[in-house]
Symmetry: C2
Subunit: 310 residues, 2 copies
């Protein structure tokens, strides 16, 4: 791929479409939305407002760190604290589809929808990549009509539109462009992290306490596997409990699954054949988390499993 | 240990206690109850009735195979089909304690209690080992007052008593005595299998369909790991579902956990560091089971996890 040409074309196209109107984008901290943010700011400067929405589902210290990294690139990212809105929308939900729907609805209809209108943006920049489109067409991902989700009727509200600068790229192409733009490795080499964030790694109800458990497990896994060279690694909190024994007493404990995969573009994946001393160390650290007494390693390739659990 | 002396002492003691009365024992097929059956028959011959109760929770072909193996040793084992009673007692139960209680109640109060009275046995031979006693004392296993569970008041029903010939041995001692007695490897090398059988390997409700799933997974794991030299290996069906992708469609699938451990006496255990080609093969076969799309490997030592899940 000719990265220079790709970037120049996207900048020109965004400029042409947006003209002197205002645009907005939501940065998740993932590599896709990070690249859109950088290209968008090169094209639009202060016409583009970039927000990072703290949905309470992010990793340890993540919202603050994302704002910091972009500040170093000269890009202002506005941190929006919406933790309460997301947590109350998720309370008591256990069905995976209902959980995803609650996150989507809160994001678009409540939080982001409000910001779009507040700012008077007519254009939305979005980090859709080719794999997203393919999986939506195949029925694996749900259809996201972004404007409809924002409560905007594209017919009635002339001028609103979504720009997807990365829709011809797969994950490896996105990383290549990031490297070409000399973005810090913290962005370009960032392991994939899903939109609904840690909620996709909690089977069952998402509560502040269960988030804390999976957040701690995630920190351990990321710390231990940062140098593994793997495509992606993550921790999942199951809803099931299993019998264990602690201080010579029977106890029911929570179960953490560790997943670590090799992949080129997330379309297919295989388990990373980690060394046993690493697996044993992870298991030992994970079972020191309060209430957790099992640590499992996911052996399944994609397909038939997906990367995430929810 | 002097195996010859141990066996002779136990035979003499059983003879002395039972005299010319009748005794009964329930053979589960595990190494403990198998050894009790052999020693019991050497001591008592036809005064001892040995029953194998098919509780619907056994492994593929197990009830028939156990009867066959003992027939070759000249010991008649009576196969009692109680599948319906156990399955109806387990229906709709999901709490681990309630499930274990339902199995215990059905076994003692209904099925075995009836057989004891029918046969007129005053003595029960039981395969309790030292580890069972220690774990009961420590509060890890529940207390089993066998006579009380049979609805027998030891005060009122003078003469009833339980004989536990193996209560001074741990698992390794049991195996040593089996080898001394030249019992077939199928008995002496049999991997441990819990009393409540496959029900301890189903998190959530025990149904005929879920039993079929864990039974198939168990066959695969036992087939693949028979030559692993591990202390114990097993498959567990979780209650949670996870997202997967099959024939390009999103699906929620069941999750099988594979557990394989190194241990001397089951008091402590560590994960078997299986070769990756073996783990990948197991995962591939497990995810071909109808409705299953994840295969996890349990990394946790005992403690803090136990061997079984329920």
């Amino acid at each position: 791929m000719d990265c220079n040409r790709f970037v120049e074309e996207q900048i020109a196209q965004i400029k042409q479409i947006v003209g002197d109107a205002k645009a907005i984008n939501a940065l998740s901290g993932g590599v896709d939305s990070s690249l859109v943010t950088v290209i968008g700011h090169r094209a639009l400067g202060h016409q583009l407002r970039t927000v990072f929405i703290d949905n309470a589902l992010m990793r340890e210290g993540e919202p603050q760190r994302v704002v910091e990294v972009f500040a170093l690139l000269g890009i202002t990212v506005e941190l929006v604290d919406s933790r309460k809105e997301f947590l109350s929308a998720l309370a008591h939900l256990t069905d995976p589809e209902e959980k995803r729907q609650a996150i989507t609805d809160t994001f678009y209809s409540k939080v982001f929808g409000r910001l779009v209108k507040e700012f008077g943006a007519k254009f939305l920049l979005h980090g859709t990549i080719l794999t997203d489109i393919e999986e939506t067409v195949a029925g694996i991902k749900r259809q996201h009509n972004i404007l409809a989700q924002l409560g905007i009727d594209p017919q009635a509200a002339y001028g609103y539109s979504v720009i997807e600068p990365l829709k011809t790229l797969r994950k490896d192409g996105v990383r290549e462009v990031c490297k070409f733009l000399e973005l810090p490795a913290e962005i370009s080499q960032r392991i994939p992290f899903p939109g609904p964030a840690l909620a996709t790694r909690i089977v069952g109800e998402v509560t502040p306490q269960r988030l804390e458990t999976v957040r701690t497990a995630t920190s351990i896994v990321e710390d231990e596997l940062a140098d593994s060279g793997a495509f992606q690694y993550l921790a999942v909190l199951l809803n099931d409990y299993a019998t264990g024994i602690r201080r010579n007493r029977r106890e029911f404990g929570q179960i953490i699954v560790v997943r670590c995969i090799e992949s080129i573009d997330a379309r297919t994946a295989t388990v990373t054949e980690l060394p046993w001393d690493k697996l044993n160390r992870i298991s030992q650290r994970i079972t020191q988390i309060d209430g957790v007494n099992r640590c499992l390693y996911d052996l399944t390739p994609k397909p038939p499993a997906t990367v995430e659990y929810v």
